[in-house]
Symmetry: C3
Subunit: 446 residues, 3 copies
């Protein structure tokens, strides 16, 4: 054991970190493994190491492969800037811009996987270890992973930089793992920000993850983890947060902005808590509970659905009708308590024409408890904008000009029984079989 | 591009960081700009830099001016200690004290702006950049900004160190910006902790901001930001948190202690979420929604209003009567759900004498939804104290000795209609036109 | 004043950090004190210092004693791994394991206090300073404190590594203190993770504190602090979070997993907020309000009680019957609003046999407000498991196979009056004197 467990990538003798940070980090990991071979000598042995990336542009052409516990990779700057705005500025105006690219301690992901490659082939950081124990306590902190470009995906999108397709992933964890931390990072222009299989006691905290096809994907199964205090916003095709077969997942204090086909998409998630988030979306299906999500609590969230104001993105949506619901539930025994929903739409853009929008929809499942949610629905006249930053000004204006929009606050489908709907809409606004589900209307003026 | 993007202020050849850290940092910023001139060479160019301040006392006589993205300024210690307590200890006892000043990586703000100077002249850190894109991803982390002294402001305050006036600001961001982070900092004895105009995707997280005239001011307009997990407490004159024309602002998990004319003052804020905070104040007007704040959710907060226990500060208040309301709402379509309010007052100090205190007051606005708030009102006998730390002991004692205090739990003014008040007080405690607003009394004993 | 306030323990000339980090840090603290003697010279004097621990195994045989403000001790890796799982793997399989011990910047606590020693004798870090001002702004960040072993405590536990007894404490703060921060740390295999007396404005944030007898103990009294965004799980004997005589304590956004005799145990806590936590436990008494906890808000939490699935731990419990309540309240004027409770039990394991489990129990106290809590109670058939990770898979299976379990959702004991219970169970499920307490049943099917 020596004291050489601090590595600065700019001082490592193997490789050139500016040309291929992947080669450098892999060489460092090999060095750690060659040095830390003892186990259980005097109750110690493999403490791992920290790898430091000072602010700089680091191209990555070789995938980093991590198979040791206790590795921390840390920079000094999450470095986010909007590439999406820049790519939608005419190129002849770029010379007027102060800077064109994200910054900080920035990884430029130059991997371009072939079309038939495994999804993980496009990952900048790939983590996998078989055997026991599960790989533990790898930490990523305060650097930027930049996918650089999206590409023509044959979808007919005029600007290939708007496709959210490039086959790249920031961090890909393939095997079961314990006590990982991903904090203070920036992720931008990746098809997948992070894809993590089989997480236990994972922390994803205070990151900036935006302009990615999907931002956070928790796949396979997982337990006892938290996604907290992040700024997140996926592209129109993917999910800001996706979770699969997870128990005890805490999603709280996030500010999730558009676009995102869904802000939060849960698939077989149980006994989890989604609370206290700001959720802003341009499409229905903001939060989806698919394939039997049960015994979850959705509480104290602010949902806002309004129309895409930015002209370059107005051609896109997630294909869902306004009858789909902002919150879509397939599952039993969930609690939906004390949320605020704002549905702010121009009638001419409702899909299909003439539809009555649905806010909370129980498509299947029994004994859900939906209580004390306040649904505000307002009709406004919305125009496109050259600025993706116009929504706030619009919001201020339209509050004055608004008039009520007729919505179904809660729709319980006929195959769902014994649900309880309290103080979440009037008798007319809550549509269900009121002999098969319990109901108390929000009091109205007498 | 070289690897020189890490700067230690104690090792920089220009200036003396202990005498004027401002000159040193400005010289470093100039160096960064002179080196990082290339744009778009191999998809890179301007990564920015990190400037490190080891723990030390750094006087600042020259304002730091930041006009580059991706600059991170980081110390190793937020360094807060209470200067207010010390300034109210007799000076002849100071020699017995272990230390007199805050510490850590500490900036001593020696700027003294003239009375007619622009407000920004008193800022230690001044951030502004015109043109496009907006300046992005500047990060301030884990150092202390100490304004040192308050001054006689002609208010008649006997101890000038208790005025909360000195014209100094910690961080002043004048132009629109994106993805800034202010984390793990300490702010003390500044008239304005931070003043930030036109924020987008701002993070203010895990800071200690106390004994400042105002702590956090988000001005102009802004969107999609978060103020989370901070310890905050302004002086009696200003705001712990002030926000203006903001959308999608998340204020959560903060512990906001007295004094503060308001804990949270919102002016034209829409579609935002104030949840899950501890709010403790000595005056009414704890949370104010001014100038048409709409479609916000206030949920799961703990409000405590009791009397100032500390003798040196008992002469101060914010001038509001106890009929003003702890939560004051001017706006439409807000949701106030599931909050706890404790009003703990000695009847002899109620203002004006004999007034019935108001807890939630809708002064103007329609269709607010106020549901399931529990209001506890208790009359106690309160004395002044030599210790600003006595409130907890008092609290424990008074729980035993308390008796109920008569309050109006919800007051809806006559110009406000179609509000819904549920389970937030008895018929007698909720005062409004019950033909113009919907109401359900909290059930009482039959 | 010089610029020598940054210390790397591996470069300090006194002592050997790998053999006794305590000697090294104490020598550094002495150096700081010898150098920082001036007070109030040019408004500065004692900024403190940062002590850096690169990733490595650091044995500690000498207790670290801290009596200066503004000291930051920081590593590069919280280093948690499960020692409990490993100690329950047959020893002849250890050679197949990738690693045996926690890692990162890891303190190995080699102190073994004698049986009659003061509790603080077993602390790795001991903080105490008398006089004024209170010691301020000590920060612990991103290293691991590992107690290494539990020991035979005469309890008859077959495997001494499962006793959660060793007399060791990670951080022990004996005297009143202000503005401390404990962040991004790992604590493992300590009888007490951290014990902190008389806290003011304390931050315990984003730590990993597990497999400790008790995790967080806030003793004596305290105010205006926060325990946020931690992953926590005590052993079967102790508390994940314990708080005593505290006011304005914010416990939010934590994911607290089993075991823990209680997830959160409060003793004389007032005007505090417990919200937004995931609480998972194997025993009743998950949250206890003892000795008159008053005016607190418990909101938006997810409670899950199910049976211990892991065979080596199934012999243990906290000795409480299933009639005890998952939430046990002795106190007045508390608010319990909008929580979800899942009680998932196999009838054969209910204790005593045939008991009807209680979810929320007001054992003593008046004027509590219990509203809009959803209680889900399900009977399943549970088996032991060789894997401590099986609970999630079980959860998924059992949702399908479940049938309702009869429970008392709210029990108010006869000495408790003027409580209000709303929408938290049917008339049959809420057991109390309904002439002495206000009640509205959750609506059921007509």
């Amino acid at each position: 054991m020596n004291n050489k467990n601090y590595y600065d990538v700019t001082k490592w003798p193997v490789g050139n970190p500016y040309k291929d940070i992947g080669e450098v980090i892999n060489s460092i990991v090999a060095d750690i493994k060659s040095r830390q071979t003892d186990t259980n000598v005097n109750e110690g042995g493999k403490p791992g190491a920290v790898i430091y990336l000072p602010p700089a542009d680091y191209h990555l052409t070789t995938q980093v492969v991590i198979d040791i516990s206790y590795l921390k990779i840390v920079g000094s700057g999450h470095g986010f800037t909007s590439s999406s705005i820049r790519y939608n500025v005419p190129e002849n105006e770029w010379s007027k811009l102060h800077e064109l690219w994200p910054g900080g301690s920035r990884i430029l992901v130059d991997i371009s996987p072939t079309a038939n490659a495994a999804e993980s082939a496009g990952a900048a950081f790939y983590v996998e270890r078989s055997g026991d124990p599960r790989i533990s306590s790898v930490e990523f902190a305060n650097f930027c992973i930049d996918g650089l470009h999206f590409v023509d995906d044959g979808s007919g999108e005029l600007n290939p930089e708007n496709t959210y397709t490039n086959g790249k992933t920031g961090i890909y964890v393939a095997s079961a793992q314990d006590s990982f931390k991903i904090t203070d990072m920036g992720f931008v222009y990746l098809e997948h920000g992070m894809t993590i299989y089989h997480a236990d006691a994972l922390t994803i905290h205070n990151n900036f993850i935006a302009e990615c096809g999907n931002c956070i994907e928790l796949r396979g199964w997982g337990q006892a983890s938290k996604v907290t205090d992040n700024l997140i916003g996926a592209g129109f095709k993917g999910y800001s947060i996706f979770a699969q077969n997870f128990g005890q997942l805490l999603i709280t204090a996030n500010n999730i902005f558009p676009r995102g086909a869904s802000s939060i998409y849960c698939d077989g998630v149980t006994r989890s808590l989604i609370s206290n988030n700001i959720l802003h979306a341009f499409y229905p299906g903001m939060v989806v509970f698919s394939k039997g999500c049960s015994e979850n609590l959705i509480s104290s969230n602010h949902f806002l659905h309004d129309r895409e104001p930015w002209t370059p993105m107005q051609e896109h949506n997630n294909g869902l009708d306004d009858s789909y619901g902002l919150l879509w539930i397939n599952g039993n025994h969930n609690s939906v308590i004390g949320n605020h929903f704002s549905e702010i739409m121009d009638k001419q853009y409702l899909t299909p024409a003439g539809v009555t929008p649905v806010i909370i929809r129980v498509v299947a499942g029994n004994e859900n408890y939906i209580s004390n949610n306040n649904i505000v629905a307002t009709e406004i006249h919305a125009e496109g904008s050259d600025s993706c930053f116009a929504s706030q000004v619009d919001a201020l204006l339209t509050t004055e000009e608004s008039k009520p929009l007729n919505v179904i606050t809660v729709l319980v489908e006929s195959q769902s029984h014994r649900n309880t709907i309290l103080d979440s809409g009037s008798d007319a606004q809550v549509v269900m079989d009121k002999t098969a589900n319990a109901f108390r209307a929000t009091p109205t003026l007498s």
